[in-house]
Symmetry: C2
Subunit: 195 residues, 2 copies
DNA sequence: AGAAAAGGTTAACACTGTTAAGTTACGTTT
DNA sequence: AAACGTAACTTAACAGTGTTAACCTTTTCT
């Protein structure tokens, strides 16, 4: 395996095992049996390394969402499954999910904007699904892109509360998730009476 | 003014002006015309200092929410106003809002849990409002505490997308906010036909 | 006045990201 | 085969970080 990939994998392992705050160039390097400076031969700096990792994570999240799409579902069922997939991914890959949202454009101005556009593209997928589905279920989709973003933002909020350990201990996590999903889905449904 | 308060204010200013990443004990100290070690006479460590700041921010957020409560509103109107207040606070105090959610319990195990319970208590306020309001508007409130949390989580998601600069540039921020609020509120309304 | 405590300092430790300069090894061209 | 170029890697260093120990000075209390 090339050192570049070795570094990426070691960083990911370190991230998963010890968390974001415990990561340092020297620790990564030592676990790859290399000096810290060697990392700079393959990555511009620490942010570049992390961004590369982010891109990978985005890709797997995107794939998971893609795999959960099935044209046989109705829109509400499809949205429900997307929501579950999204939340499951986040809870099963907390450190990866975290760095996706941790790194902020303005804090790394050196980087080309298209990298961040990449990060966003995962949500276009949701927009596509809303746009392409048949609208027979009294759904609000005046602007599918905006709807996709509100959908995603609400999912992110749910995940965020759990990952940041801000959920009240009296509330079971699964109950919170289920109820949140129901609220979110219902937000998309018109108040018109169903046929 | 006591040095303790001086430090708090200087830290807050630094935070607002230069952001989270640019904060260091020495920079804070120098702006207060003091040595870095002096800070440790008033705060256990950097996390303690930031936690104290968080508590202050929570207090003002809580106050803003409290001030927006008016028993003359119906529940949906009240929720809408709470949502607007919450989002406005976050967008007007981005750095303060950020540190509220940035510091994670597991990353500072030295701290007593009740400090984090304090952080959470702002959302009990929302729970109270849902619980105390009359339920004549076909609202889902089987468990007001859970409802409050889903409400807050969704708001946090909306704010988070904006503050993390993850909103698509094609979408106007105000449109996003308005539509998100509508979705969130609608999530609380039963599908029953209104009278 | 003398003791105790509070408020402040300097110097140091063990880290951090990052860079400049130097070394080694390998593949290509002549 | 010899020379060159370059890629991969290292050592040493810089400037910065949070934090602690030891020390000094000023205020407060008895």
């Amino acid at each position: 395996m090339s050192l570049r990939n070795e570094i990426l994998q070691v960083t990911k392992e370190l991230l998963i095992k010890e968390g974001f705050s415990k990561i340092s160039m020297r620790r990564i390097a030592s676990r790859a049996n290399v000096t810290a400076t060697s990392i700079y031969l393959h990555f511009k700096n620490k942010d570049d390394l992390l961004l590369t990792l982010i891109e990978e994570s985005i890709k797997t999240l995107k794939q998971a969402l893609q795999d959960s799409v099935n044209s046989e579902y109705g829109l509400t069922d499809q949205l429900r499954i997307l929501a579950e997939t999204y939340i499951n991914y986040a809870l099963n890959h907390p450190q990866e999910y975290e760095i996706i949202y941790m790194v902020r454009p303005e804090e790394m101005p050196k980087y080309p904007k298209d990298k961040f556009r990449d990060v966003r593209s995962a949500y276009e997928l949701i927009a596509d699904i809303i746009r392409e589905s048949d609208h027979h279920e009294y759904i609000e989709v005046e602007d599918s892109l905006i709807s996709a973003y509100t959908f995603w933002a609400q999912l992110h909020g749910v995940v965020s509360v759990i990952l940041n350990r801000r959920l009240d201990t009296r509330i079971p996590q699964s109950t919170f998730i289920d109820q949140s999903i129901e609220h979110i889905i219902r937000g998309f449904i018109n108040q018109k009476t169903p046929a």
